[in-house]
Subunit: 189 residues, 2 copies
DNA sequence: GTCTATAACTCGATAGAC
DNA sequence: GTCTATCGAGTTATAGAC
């Protein structure tokens, strides 16, 4: 077996394990076992458990690339484009990575430091210039967008609240985009 | 030291520890140490770690009692009343309990079973009859409300996203209540 | 390339002394 | 009422054999 292949198998197993159980509740041993290798090999390739976790958090997509068309969308369809892109990302190959990040982000106080500047941050930083206005309400707008998208992520992918969890992307977009559009571009109190 | 006092000290220490670190990352030993007692005593009073955690999840308020005035509010101010009550609850004595629940709920797959039917469920079940309509869209409405409130909780209390985290209750109400009002009572696509 | 062996801890839980 | 002592299992991580 080539080293690269084995490395990849370990990485995949780790991603799934962290996605299912978060950082704390996942043991290096269980990852090794799922990958069909010895525990020592995991350390050999990735160092500490923390480093393994960080190696796991590589998004299979480039946020800037994915968001480019969104940011180019007409302003009145900004939220719709943004939300659709986000929902499709959550259903893509990136799902385990995102779940792992969320589980770890919310599960312990140093979660944030562990996953610092991850998904939401990435998406939101790109969104900043687009939602800014003369009054400088960008931070508030971004925080509101973050709250609704984080809640959607948790409801759909972590808690599995029905009917939201099984709802087609387009229906979720229709229901929630107006909220985001208001947070992004409409006048706030 | 009376047994009741010690029991209470252990319970308080456990609540804070679980709120800070979630279920997995909190050790019985650390709880004991924070309470100034031996680890064995914790087991003596509460049994297993899981039982200790469940004992911790006793809300210091009765949801039905808190929500009664909300449900009696005029329909067009339902969201506003609901959200204000929720935000005040999060800032009250109940904060550690709620944080503990959230951290555990999102951190592992059996989190939901551990905290089954907790906070959001409680609030939402009371809300159900109020948001129902002839088309039977209550489940969708409740899921949407859950997504925004869960996101708000995470943004404000778990991730500490500014300026939302430090924002006065009334300002958050002004910004977010319209979203909830739409989810609760307005026509959906 | 991969595993054996093991060090060095920490964990939950229990029995029983004081 | 509270703690000592301890069991047994599980953890990360490393050194080194094959």
């Amino acid at each position: 077996m080539s080293a690269a292949q084995t490395r990849q198998r370990i990485l995949d197993a780790a991603r799934q394990a962290f996605a299912r159980s978060g950082f704390e509740a996942t043991s290096v041993r269980s990852v090794a076992s799922a990958a069909g290798v010895d525990q020592a090999l995991v350390h050999r390739y990735f160092g500490t458990k923390r480093e393994l976790f960080l190696a796991t958090l590589e998004l299979p997509v480039d946020p800037a690339r994915v968001l480019a068309p969104v940011l180019a969308a007409p302003r009145q369809h900004l939220a719709e484009a943004f939300l659709r892109t986000l929902l499709e990302l959550w259903d893509s190959d990136a799902e385990p990575v995102i779940l792992a990040a969320v589980r770890t982000l919310t599960s312990t106080p140093d979660g944030p430091s562990l996953v610092k500047g991850f998904v939401l941050d990435l998406a939101l930083s790109h969104l900043r210039p687009v939602v800014d206005d003369p009054v400088g309400s960008a931070p508030t707008r971004l925080a509101l967008v973050a709250s609704q998208t984080a809640g959607l992520l948790v409801a759909r992918k972590v808690l599995g609240i029905e009917p939201l969890a099984s709802m087609p992307v387009e229906q979720v977009v229709a229901l929630v985009a107006p909220t985001l559009q208001r947070y992004m571009t409409e006048p706030l109190p």
